[in-house]
Amino acid sequence: MSHEYVVLQLTNYVVPATLLAILALGLNLQWGHTGLFNAGVAAYMGVGAYLFGMLTTGNFAADFNIPPDGTPDWLHWGPAQPWDLIPAALAAMVVAAVLGVLVAVPTLRLRADYLAIATLAFAEIVRLILKNERRLTGGDQTLAYIPRPFGGIVTEGWASDGVFMLVALALLVVVLYAMLRLTATPWGRALKAVREDEEAAEAMGKNAFVLKLGSIAIGCAVMGLAGALTVSFQKVAIPDQFVPFTTFTAYVVVILGGSGNPKGAVLGAYVFALFGWATQQAKAYLPDAFTLRIDFVNQIVIGLMLILIMIFRPEGMMPEERYVPRRR
């Protein structure tokens, strides 16, 4: 087994799992920890993804002459000079956070299921805009040639994948650490109180609205980062990637892993991705009639998992940890 093969196989599993974990960490803060039923996950991921893509490919794409592989050029908005990756990623996070707050201000007072429906509808509107406004986002023609970290230095397939995997893992560690520290602060505790009983939290002196906005902002920023990383890995951005199913996947991961526990969200992502990866691998060993249907079976299992978890073990694999005060 050559090392290229090993690296490619490894990144094939680890990278989607890691990006899913980052996405889940953002959702976990909003839903697991603060109890906000934000069903617009795909939109914030998509906005982060597209902003990153548009900033890093820049306007030069508009004047791009026919590249070597003969694909026609396309047109989308972008800065005159493409941005560097880190500022672009930061911009993606900020814009996603701002968008989240803008949507949240009028909708946070809605009851949980209404909030879910409203944010889901909003996410669909965002997806339609991403898909149809060619001048802005490249629309259906997909946004391509999105660069990867260290793309100038490492260009070969497997090495580039490997480097990306390391970058993604590093970012996951950073985000996980940030989430663990944040939820351990008095601010995190106040969020939990809002989740448990918002009225009582208000009556005890917590400004529930501002606390919720903070949770939304940080969670959406993380989702934007996940989106940016996703399209950086794929090198293209496709609007139909940011569909309600993406949001449902994030919820499955958070619920499966353990809502309220950041480590649980990461665990859930890796387990979920393992399941998906195993399904893909199984295709090679199954007769044709089955390979066609195995993806559906995969999703049936996911759906059944959701149902069974909600009925029998809603706290997931790693439940929230009990608060143990430090020894003074």
């Binding site: 009582a200 939290a201 009556a203 005890m204 005060p325």
Partner: protein, 264 residues
């Protein structure tokens, strides 16, 4: 004569077609244990909710400690020093007893973003000191919480999930939480309803000790023994407004009060 710490002027609160609070006017003097009694449906709990901001009054004014608080959000009212317990305890179920206390009251150090922003103000080498200060403040808060727990007798349940407490213990937790907020005045909504005699005495003792230190208590209670024996001033509400007020002996002797309970 000291000015009242709480003044309610002509407050109205309507639900659908029903005037739960109908131009109610009353005042509470500081440092007292004042009782609020009246038959069911008189509007007492509604009035409490309107005072702390859980409901917005349809009309009228509420003045606390000389400041108007009408229409303020509940957390803003708490910041001014006025807090209320719930008649049916609303503990934060999936948090420990200690967490329930730590999360009560105006924002503790470390609860606002500004606290962390301030960490980075000033010269870089002072940052570790600021961090230690922040930690110290949080430790002090935890210390205080443990003291309050000891005062109400819940110290041994510090790390227990609040949902696992018994009814009486939840009542104690309600009281402990409001004490953490360092209030100037506490509105107690039936604090001893359904609580056994021993615990009732203990609760009342805690309240009396705190009252002597300057806290004001305004108490809704149906247990007449408690009200008559402990409250130095009693206000009677009936059909959304004040009927009468006075010391226990006067109220007991007032035929209108008995009328209101019997059917008025």
């Amino acid at each position: 004569m000291t000015p009242p710490i709480l003044e309610v002027r002509d407050v109205v609160k309507t639900f659908g077609g029903i005037r739960a609070v109908d131009r109610c006017t009353l005042s509470v003097r500081p440092g007292t244990l004042t009782g609020l009694i009246g038959p069911n449906g008189a509007g007492k709990s509604t009035l409490f909710n309107a005072i702390v901001g859980l409901y917005a009054p349809d009309a009228g004014e509420i003045v606390f400690d000389g400041q108007p608080i009408t229409g303020l959000l509940p957390h803003e009212v708490v910041h001014r020093g006025l807090i209320k317990t719930f008649q049916i305890p609303r503990e934060f179920r999936n948090m420990t007893v200690l967490e329930n206390l730590l999360v009560s009251g105006p924002p503790a150090p470390g609860e606002r973003f500004l606290d962390y922003v301030r960490l980075f103000r000033g010269t870089p080498w002072t940052i570790p000191n600021r961090w230690k200060d922040l930690r110290g403040a949080q430790d002090a808060q935890q210390h205080r919480a443990e003291e309050v727990l000891a005062t109400v007798g819940l110290a041994q349940l510090r790390d227990e999930y609040a949902k696992n407490l018994s009814g009486g213990q939840k009542k104690l937790l309600e009281l402990a939480r409001v004490l953490m907020a360092r209030p100037k005045m506490v509105l107690l909504d039936e604090p001893v309803a359904g609580v056994n005699l021993t615990l009732t005495q203990k609760l009342l003792q805690v309240i009396e000790d705190l009252r002597q230190k300057g806290l004001t208590f305004f108490l809704i209670e149906h247990d007449m023994n408690v009200v008559m024996s402990r409250c130095e001033w009693i206000i009677v509400m009936h059909q959304g407004r004040t009927l009468t007020e006075g010391v226990a002996a006067e109220i007991k002797a007032n035929p209108a009060v008995v009328e209101s309970y019997l059917g008025g």
